[in-house]
Symmetry: C2
Subunit: 494 residues, 2 copies
């Protein structure tokens, strides 16, 4: 969930100052249009890590926009008035009316997260709270509200750096609150439960936006752009607000750095190392699959990646270590007639292995948020809701003891070009390259955005994505086998 918010996004001062005036003007204009139309309210929820710039961002939004049309509400200690009524009353009384923006700084998510981190509630109670939040937000959305949920994130490293820096600075140490120190101890828990909350409560009508908080310019521009795009889309929607596509569009990163750009694509293995490591990992996999405890689990591996990134050959290296009775490869191409007559996920459910078995998905259910999104094979509403549906699906697998490993094989544009040409030049490889591959290549940026969103919205502790630097095939194959083995070993031990 937080992958894209740990890659060190930043925007230099010049670019920032060049971008702000137009953004401010557009935001103000949208704000007046919102008041003019008075058809729906806007609700902005601010959550996340202490010190990741939540307060500064809210302050800035008030400076950028017309503060008379924004109401900021904080929800710390409940007042006597509030304590005397149902917990949700305090939020109802602060709801922005149609035509206005309400910023809830601290909100229902803060309450449930604090309660879970400090063990006042357990997972089942947390899920009840998340469910309650979802019902509330769905109702608000059905009533027309446009909802933005921002999670401000800092990697553990950045958080510690910040604490160290401020602590010793007599002019700035006042910036640190008791909450900062408390969180430095509970960071791991906070992020883990935060991920659970985001995974289950990011829905098409009220998606979460995770913002990397370390660079002020970056986070300010990001939040501003997301608000602007969402506002403009909703203001432009004709008809009843309850019928508009609920999500603000996903927004590509304002510093043009995507998650995939953060990979070190130079990683490689020399042939002798490769052969030694490959054999070792294959042997390890074979042994693990023969372990008795495997009977309590099933294994599912998902292979996605750029065209010509080497999915096929990697899968062969995995399969080579396995007893053919124990595994299957599900090759996902266009759906059959029978599959088209069923809900989207049906054709993947058919291939879910029983305990003790292993299914390798050569492409997968992620097609919906990759090719179907980019090529517009389904509606925006369909792929937007798919993130939540996929998270639910993978949670069901995980709950049943299925070990799920997901690989994105990444190559850079130049490597792809070399491989495409090589395929065209080699007679027995020519079938592997089609017009469509060249067309996909033209949409490189779109696919890159889609992959970033996919990883941000579906990588989780229970079903993490592994990004595989695949310019060097040998490096990729070993990394894949090792990741598989580590996941399997961890599950068997647990």
């Amino acid at each position: 969930m937080f992958e894209s918010a740990e890659i060190g996004h930043q925007i230099d001062k010049e670019s920032y100052e060049a971008a702000v005036p137009a953004l401010r003007e557009a935001l103000l204009e949208a704000q007046y249009e919102l008041r003019q139309q008075a058809r729906f309210p806007v609700l902005v929820l601010i959550s996340g890590i202490e010190g990741a710039g939540k307060g500064e961002t809210v302050k800035l939004l008030n400076e950028w926009m017309d503060p008379r049309l924004i109401e900021v509400s904080t929800f710390d200690q409940q007042t006597d008035e509030e304590l005397a009524r149902p917990p949700v009353w305090r939020y109802w009384r602060q709801l922005p009316p149609k035509g206005r923006i309400g910023i809830f700084f601290g909100n229902w998510y803060s309450q449930m997260l604090q309660a879970r981190v400090h063990e006042r509630i357990d997972d089942a109670r947390l899920d009840q709270a998340i469910d309650g939040a979802e019902r509330l937000e769905r109702m608000l959305s059905d009533e027309g509200a446009l909802i933005f949920k921002f999670w401000f994130h800092l990697s553990k490293k950045r958080m510690k750096e910040r604490l160290a820096l401020l602590k010793d600075d007599p002019l700035h140490s006042w910036r640190l609150s008791p909450l900062d120190w408390q969180q430095s101890k509970t960071y791991g828990k906070f992020v883990r439960y935060g991920e659970r909350v985001l995974r289950r409560s990011s829905r098409d009508f009220a998606p979460w936006y995770v913002i990397e908080g370390s660079d002020a310019n970056y986070r300010s521009l990001s939040v501003g752009r997301i608000l602007l795009d969402g506002l403009q889309a909703a203001l432009g929607h004709r008809g009843r607000p309850a019928h508009r596509p609920h999500a603000a569009p996903l927004v590509s990163s304002v510093d043009n750095r995507a998650l995939l750009d953060s990979l070190d694509m130079t990683q490689a293995l020399a042939k002798p190392d490769y052969q030694r490591l490959l054999i070792a990992e294959q042997a390890r996999l074979a042994l693990l699959m023969r372990d008795k405890r495997i009977r309590r689990h099933a294994l599912v591996a998902v292979f996605e990646g750029n065209d010509a990134a080497g999915k096929g050959s990697s899968i062969r290296r995995v399969a080579a270590a396995l007893d053919p009775r124990q595994y299957r490869i599900a090759q996902i191409a266009a759906p059959t007639e029978e599959e088209r007559a069923q809900p989207y996920l049906w054709r993947f459910w058919r291939h879910i292995p029983p305990r003790g078995k292993f299914t390798i998905f050569d492409r997968s259910w992620y097609g919906r948020v990759l090719v179907e999104r980019v090529e517009r094979l389904c509606s925006e509403a369909d792929w937007l809701r798919a993130y939540g549906e996929i998270n639910d699906f993978e949670e069901q697998l995980n709950d049943a003891g299925v070990v799920l490993v997901k690989f994105w094989l990444a190559i850079d544009r130049e490597t792809q070009l070399v491989r495409f040409k090589e395929r065209e030049a080699t007679p027995f490889k020519r079938f592997k390259i089609t017009e469509e591959d060249w067309r996909n290549r033209d949409k490189w940026e779109d696919y890159s955005d889609a992959v970033g969103d996919m990883v941000d919205r579906t990588s989780s502790e229970i079903a993490p994505w592994t990004l595989v630097e695949a310019n060097d095939k040998r490096f990729a194959r070993v990394k894949i086998l090792r990741t598989l083995n580590d996941a399997l070993e961890k599950a068997l031990r647990g």
Copy 2:
């Protein structure tokens, strides 16, 4: 939830046989149209009490319709195949494809109810299961599926009668299964948890239909009609199935008997009895409101009812017993400008009392499913989703210790006519009768249906409706005060 399914619905043989041929033909036609369009599948979930005719109804549907286009799946013991995979896999593999009807006899609700009744899970886990079911159904519905959920009900009395009857009949005692005997012991729990499940999982896109099961003719016609109406509405909807209004329309009872018809409207109190009882209940209320334990609770009373049923004068009798500092009367009329700029429930949340206080709602949030529904002041989608939203709202009140008492004051048409004329004839009462009252009177049947649906969908253990026979005002006032006192006393004791 089960009020309308305990009033002894029945259809005589002649009417039944007269109605069946046309219904069968229409169902068959709808079925072929469904296959022809092949745009969406139909999923029918069968749940409820043993012996309420679940099996017979499924059998009959297969006789009435083309069985080649219906697949019935039962989900008893999990097979080895199923046990080796995530629990939900068994449902996925049996999903009907587009153009066909799948009947799930025993389904996810049966599993969670059995688990809760036999204490294998607690309430929080039950809620997690309900939440999972809701996510699954929403996804199926977003993918186009038309979902019907039938709950076959028998009152405890009928269930016992049936058991007694069959037990001693050598020709029929084989009809009783071990499940029947088991359920006769767990009936109370089964109905209580069943109500929780229905309350939380009845959503606009997949509503529950509660069917009284004691009379075979009635239940068969009811199920047939609901299926037919829902199918025809969905088949007639242009555009993508995912965009159709999700619910089959609510259907008025096929024997033309509504819940309100089951009231004994002749109940009355003589004046001396009335005065004695009124004073006693008023004193009781005054004492209860002075009890120290009231500080842990708040009290909310909702008054709805036919025009001229005597809401105002009843409220005055309640208020007469109270310290004016302790209560408020919220008179709900057309929303103000400020209220129109907020989500529907906002204007009721503002009046929710703090602990220790009492708010009397003269009309309430039920306006949406009564006048707004009947007068078409909101869209069908809006009032259909309101049942679920209201249940969520009242659950939040209940969780916070608010005692909620809801009254429907019922009079019959003749009594209303007499009162209307009396008002017109009395100078100081003339302001109480308007053109609108006469217009509402013309829609008596529509309101009657709306009240029945409202009670069926929002009466629950935590927030029951009390139907007040109000032809005799004295009887009504005493019943209201007594009900209030009983509820308050129970809460203070608990």
